[in-house]
């Protein structure tokens, strides 16, 4: 008997403009002990299927047809009390968006312990112990200290691990993991995937793993389902799918996987994407608003950005007296420079301070010590008003796209606002045109403008976030995990767009990512961070071919070796 059976599932999102069908007729099985990979286009409906299984579709979503069986029992259309017994205990769920999944007002401990208590009969003391164990297992350092903290004190990757720990802590029969490792560096990712694999094999737990990372698919899953535009277009064993894909979308997907072995000028694209229903409108940057941007005066120095001995610590424990407070050194004496027109990559362990340094540069945190120089001007110590002229030039794509968008503004407004505010376009019509174009460039289509952030899939939100950052026509762009939630084909499209902008406008970028192949394709120089320190800075090729630091070596070793597997039967369009 299959652990989970999904039959002809159909899911709709009604809206005042009509009913959008997010999932058509999806059917698949998960056997005990099996890991089923779910890959597909961003916005294809992967998360939606997962949500539907545990009856947690976000309103107004509804299951319009089909059935779901768990261990032979029908669990679709169960009354609320019955389905609640299944959640957690039978099905553990890892949401795609770890940042917003955690209750901001409860400590990590409270959130873990309550889950354990709700799903098993242990004492509070035992539950606490178990919570610590779980954190340990997902690789959170110093769990005894960390467990008392609140979500906002965690880095993106750490929060993701907490969510995983919570989902696994209730020892479910089925795990639905929606892109569980997007924010994790390869070593931790490896650790987590091993953990899940172990559970599946030892306890006959079933798992649905939604991911964009073909490396993960190749290494972990037993079978793979490929989704495109709400349909499962292809399903088979991992071998089959990766080595001999049949559906054109699957083919294009695999061909778009960035290569970790060589650096290419541009990401490979496949015709299918361009002929597909949601087409990226081809734009010619050179005669488009985006490409015409004001050209900035060259700086006298040979670098655009200079980070000089920046330190920043966070308070982790308040106390009545100052001296009893505890701190964590998030950024520890970090210095580097970024030349105009170059892309500087930042890799490193989750929680090593990458996002923090990005925020310091963006002016969101004031460093405890050290200096940030931008275009020859010192930014640290400026008042908000003095800083404003630089704001537009220095943009940031946040690690968590969802929470960085105002939930009460529709997408068109979100993107139009900076254009309007900085008076980058002359008329309302022009603004609308530009917003539409930007939405097209990122593959969402003009019509998406009237929708609100919560109506999008994780990847779609990430693309909105990028579109918004581009709307100011920045000179310097900080990208904190900009493509982690994107399928490789969309990712290729977007990264190509960024590259074009770079060529045309000499856009400078600080690129934070865990995806080493992407880093290799995109960056000119790379810095490696660990424990708040910048431990190595080198030219890309140099770093990949002859890493100096032992941690860097370790990272590179763990990089999924996928190239051999996937590209055998494929022609690569270059």
């Amino acid at each position: 008997m299959a652990l989970l059976e999904v039959k002809n599932l159909k899911i709709e999102f009604p809206s005042r403009f009509g009913i959008a069908t997010a999932v058509h007729d999806a059917s698949f099985l998960v056997e005990p002990g099996e890991i089923v990979g779910l890959v597909g286009e961003s916005g294809a409906g992967k998360s939606t299927i997962g949500n539907a299984i545990i009856d947690l579709l976000s309103p107004p979503g509804r299951v319009a047809g089909g059935e779901v069986f768990l261990q032979g029992k029908k669990i679709s259309q169960l009354p609320a009390d019955k389905i609640r017994e299944i959640r957690g205990q039978k099905i553990g769920f890892i949401f795609q968006d770890p940042m917003t999944s955690l209750n901001p007002l409860l400590t990590i401990e409270q959130q873990l312990v309550e889950t354990i208590l709700a799903n098993s009969t242990v004492s509070t003391q035992q539950a606490r112990q178990k919570a610590l164990d779980m954190l340990q297992q997902v690789g959170i350092p110093e769990p005894e200290v960390r467990i008392k903290q609140y979500p906002h004190q965690f880095s993106g990757g750490m929060r993701q691990r907490v969510v995983i720990a919570i989902a696994l802590s209730s020892e479910p029969k089925l795990i639905i993991a929606d892109e569980p490792t997007t924010a994790l560096d390869v070593s931790i990712q490896d650790q987590i995937l091993e953990l899940i694999k172990g559970l599946c094999k030892e306890r006959q737990v079933g798992c649905i793993l939604v991911t964009h990372d073909m490396g993960v698919i190749a290494n972990v899953t037993d079978r793979v389902a490929v989704m495109y535009r709400g349909k499962i277009v292809e399903m088979g064993t991992t071998e089959q799918i990766l080595s001999s894909p049949e559906h054109p979308y699957t083919k294009s997907l695999i061909s778009a996987v960035p290569r970790s072995d060589v650096k290419l000028a541009r990401f490979p694209l496949v015709d299918y994407i361009e002929t597909a229903e949601v087409a990226f409108e081809k734009i010619d940057i050179s005669n488009h608003w985006l490409g015409q941007g004001n050209h900035f005066a060259a700086t006298e120095e040979d670098y655009l950005l200079k980070v000089d001995k920046v330190c920043l610590k966070f308070k982790t424990q308040s106390a009545l007296l100052k001296k009893n407070c505890k701190y964590v050194q998030a950024v520890d004496n970090v210095s580097f420079t970024v030349k105009a027109g170059e892309t500087f990559g930042l890799v490193g362990e989750s929680g090593s301070g990458k996002s923090t340094i990005a925020r310091v540069i963006a002016g969101l945190y004031a460093p405890d010590s050290g200096v940030i120089q931008f275009a020859g001007k010192e930014l640290t110590g400026l008042t908000e008003a003095q800083r404003r002229p630089f704001r537009r030039e220095l943009q940031m794509v946040f690690q968590n796209p969802y929470s960085s968008m105002n939930p009460r503004m529709c997408i068109a407004d979100i993107i139009a606002e900076p254009i309007r505010f900085h008076k980058l376009a002359s008329s309302n019509q022009e603004i609308q045109q530009i917003v539409g174009d930007l939405l097209e460039h990122v593959g969402l289509g003009r019509k998406a403008g009237v929708k609100y952030p919560h109506e999008f899939s994780g990847g779609q939100r990430q693309r909105i976030s990028i579109a918004r950052a581009l709307a100011t026509r920045p000179r310097f762009l900080i990208c904190d995990e900009p493509t982690s939630a994107l399928d490789v084909s969309v990712q290729a499209q977007i990264l190509n767009l960024l590259k074009d902008l770079q060529d045309e406008l000499s856009l400078t970028m600080l690129f934070i990512s865990h995806d080493l192949p992407v880093i290799r394709q995109v960056c000119d120089r790379i810095g490696v961070m660990r424990y708040g320190k910048l431990i190595e800075v080198a030219e890309t090729e140099q770093l990949f071919t002859s890493p100096q630091h032992e941690y860097t070596q370790q990272l590179l070793d763990l990089m999924p070796k996928l190239t051999q597997l996937s590209r055998e039967g494929l022609e690569i369009v270059e």
């Binding site: 107004p60 404003r388 704001r391 940031m396 929470s403 968008m405 939930p407 009460r408």
Partner: protein
């Protein structure tokens, strides 16, 4: 011209109108509210008597029950008369006007003041915040009564009693408006403190938007739900405050009845049998407040895109 039509078109296409047309409760509340506003505005035309015209009042007609009560009832007075012999129906029509003006405008003033102060305090923090919040403390401990004393004595001295009565209603708006802003300010400030830590605000800062824009366009809409609640509740409060102030000789003259003062003065009669003096205006107030609250609830829901709305 073209912009105005497009604004109109935009309104016609807006979610607001769309969901409004779908929501029976909202339509009902709006209709009732409109009827009351119209009845109040046109009181001089529709009311059978003019309760401000003292010559038309006869004490011997006082406390007559509504016509359906029979007994002493007099058919001239559909809803009976109050303790002075004023026709209840006319008095309510005129009184609703006074109360509506005070209720709506005073709350508008309160909320504008409170929101502005609360936003500024929450967003800028530091000294500005301390100053504004202590100002709120001062204001709170003084409350309506003290403000009323200060403002009305000032104007009374400036204008003399007679002219004072002419402007009394505006003064009441100002008094109640000034004295109750801290409610809004503290609430808004609290929300702002929480909201400003959120990433979307940081994103707006990175975009380089000015403080004012971030406050009004980003933070404020996300702080509105409690404000809607307080504002709708405050309408009733303002209407009753007016009555209390008038009693203290600091508001409307005795001879211009408002809903609040009717309810207030009628309560002595409630237990001696003349229930209509209190109950009827009370019902009018309840319906009015209910309509405003329903509209407020509806608006709050519509403004939250995340809430699922019946289509």
């Amino acid at each position: 011209m073209s912009t105005s039509t497009s604004a109109w078109q935009r309104f016609r296409n807006s979610d607001l109108l769309f969901y409004f047309k779908k929501d029976k409760v909202a339509i009902g509340a709006a209709i009732i509210f409109l009827i009351m506003v119209i009845a109040a505005v046109t009181a001089p035309l529709t009311a059978p008597f003019n309760p401000y015209d003292l010559a038309s009042i006869d004490v011997m007609d006082s406390t007559l029950p509504p016509v359906w009560q029979g007994g002493e009832a007099d058919e001239r007075f559909l809803l009976g008369t109050d303790n002075q012999g004023r026709d209840m129906l006319s008095t309510i029509l005129y009184g609703t006007r006074t109360s509506l003006i005070i209720g709506l405008f005073a709350v508008l003033l309160q909320s504008v003041l409170g929101i502005a102060i609360g936003l500024a305090a929450g967003y800028y923090g530091g000294r500005i915040e301390s100053f504004l919040m202590r100002l709120a403390d001062v204001q709170l401990s003084f409350s309506t009564l003290m403000v009323a004393i200060v403002v009305s004595t000032f104007f009374q001295a400036k204008l003399g009693t007679e002219a004072f009565h002419e402007v009394a209603i505006y003064l009441l708006v100002i008094i109640i408006g000034i004295s109750e802003w801290p409610q809004f300010a503290r609430t808004i400030r609290a929300s702002v403190l929480a909201e400003k830590e959120k990433e979307y605000v940081q994103a707006a800062q990175v975009m380089g938007f000015g403080g004012l824009r971030i406050m009004l366009r980003h933070i404020l809409p996300n702080c509105l739900p409690p404000i809607f609640v307080i504002a709708t509740v405050q309408v009733a409060n303002a209407i009753m405050s007016e009555a209390a102030l008038s009693f203290l000789g600091l508001g409307m003259p005795e001879t211009t009845p408002s809903l609040g003062s009717l309810i207030r003065s009628g309560f002595e009669y409630l237990l001696s049998g003349s229930w209509w003096i209190t109950i009827i205006p009370g019902l009018v107030l309840v319906v009015l407040v209910l309509a405003i609250n329903l509209l407020g609830d509806w608006l709050r829901d519509v403004l939250n895109p995340k809430l699922y709305k019946e289509i």
